[in-house]
């Protein structure tokens, strides 16, 4: 491999950190997808059915009776706080974020191996993640206080993580083009 086929700046760390955060984001978003699929409108909790808290189950799970009842309440709270557009929006957004997270993982692989052709993919994918974080933040902002409390702070953290990665990738790209 000649020098032109390798990154001069050697941003292995950016690749490793990018892949790590991509994996964490993938886990987070697939779980969000699962959440939206499982906690569906019209399910038992929303219909006001009483929690089934058998003593043997409580002992097995190490739960109090109150905790068992509150588990149903927490589902009711989520359903009651979600505007009708929120669930389909979250499902679509999570799928999109998973796709871009996979692309950023590929970019991270390329950066670790000093492949110049992956820098652009890194800049694009990290920037797209920043935009998707903004979209998710805006959506959460337009729900009620319960979902805002649940979503806004983690989204702000992800936003800054992706902003750092996007700026670092942009910096690598600029230094490479100057070199």
């Amino acid at each position: 491999m000649n020098q032109n086929d390798k990154l001069i700046t050697g941003q292995t760390w950016l690749g490793v950190v990018g892949v790590l955060f991509a994996m964490l984001l993938l886990a987070n978003q697939t779980n969000e997808l699962l959440k939206q699929i499982v906690i569906a409108p019209g399910s038992a909790a929303e219909m006001g059915m009483a929690a089934d808290c058998r003593a043997d189950e409580l002992a097995e799970e190490g739960l109090s009776l109150q905790e068992c009842r509150l588990m149903v309440s927490s589902v009711q709270i989520i359903l009651a706080s979600s505007p009708p557009w929120f669930r389909p929006f979250q499902i679509g957004l999570s799928l999109l974020v998973c796709g871009v997270a996979l692309a950023s993982m590929v970019a991270g692989f390329g950066l670790v191996n000093d492949s110049p052709r992956f820098i652009k993919l890194g800049v694009i994918s990290f920037s797209l993640l920043v935009l998707l974080d903004v979209a998710a933040f805006t959506a959460a902002l337009n729900t009620g206080p319960v979902l805002r409390a649940q979503y806004l702070w983690p989204l702000l953290l992800w936003f800054f993580i992706h902003l750092c990665l996007a700026m670092a990738a942009l910096n690598v790209m600029q230094r490479e083009s100057r070199a």
């Binding site: 050697g10 292995t12 760390w13 690749g15 490793v16 950190v17 892949v19 790590l20 994996m23 964490l24 993938l26 886990a27 987070n28 697939t30 779980n31 699962l34 959440k35 699929i37 499982v38 906690i39 399910s43 038992a44 909790a45 059915m49 929690a51 089934d52 808290c53 058998r54 043997d56 189950e57 409580l58 097995e60 799970e61 739960l63 068992c68 588990m71 149903v72 927490s74 589902v75 993982m105 991270g108 692989f109 670790v112 191996n113």
Partner: protein, 178 residues
Amino acid sequence: MEQERLPKITVILHWVLASSVFFLFVSSWWMLSLPLPSAEFTYRVLPFQLHKNIGITLLLIAVTMAAIRIAKGSNGHPKNPDRLQKLAALDHLIMYFLLAACCLSGYLSSSYSGWETSFWWILNLPAWAQENDDLNILFSGLHLWSCWALLAVIVLHIGAAIYHGIADDGLINKMFRL
């Protein structure tokens, strides 16, 4: 530093395994907050079935990776490893052990709970154990603690990967190259 290449399948399995482990952790913390199961409250059915399916698949992946490692030998590893290299080898060994312990104890706990396991909704695994609350609680505890220990070892593993990534010493490149 140019390193020897790992088989493509090893690299792919490593990343599938890593991503799945993170998903299992985050989803298990969430799914245990769902209402306890009953005829009406079925919120736990999909997450638990998915959890078991991924866990069993992970065990198969870990066994495959270990088999590849044994078959290929320890090419590229130093003949006289220093203290850190010995620790890294031990970390890998413990990680494989804990991953297997975590998956097996989870499967055993599920078996003794009386819940059926349908492997990816295709194959119904035989219910080879009778429902037994004591054994369910025992294996559930083992599952919990082996998974916490696994998380601790994974943190060490990732910490070392970040260290070598920042040092840019070429040590981790083989796991990022297809």
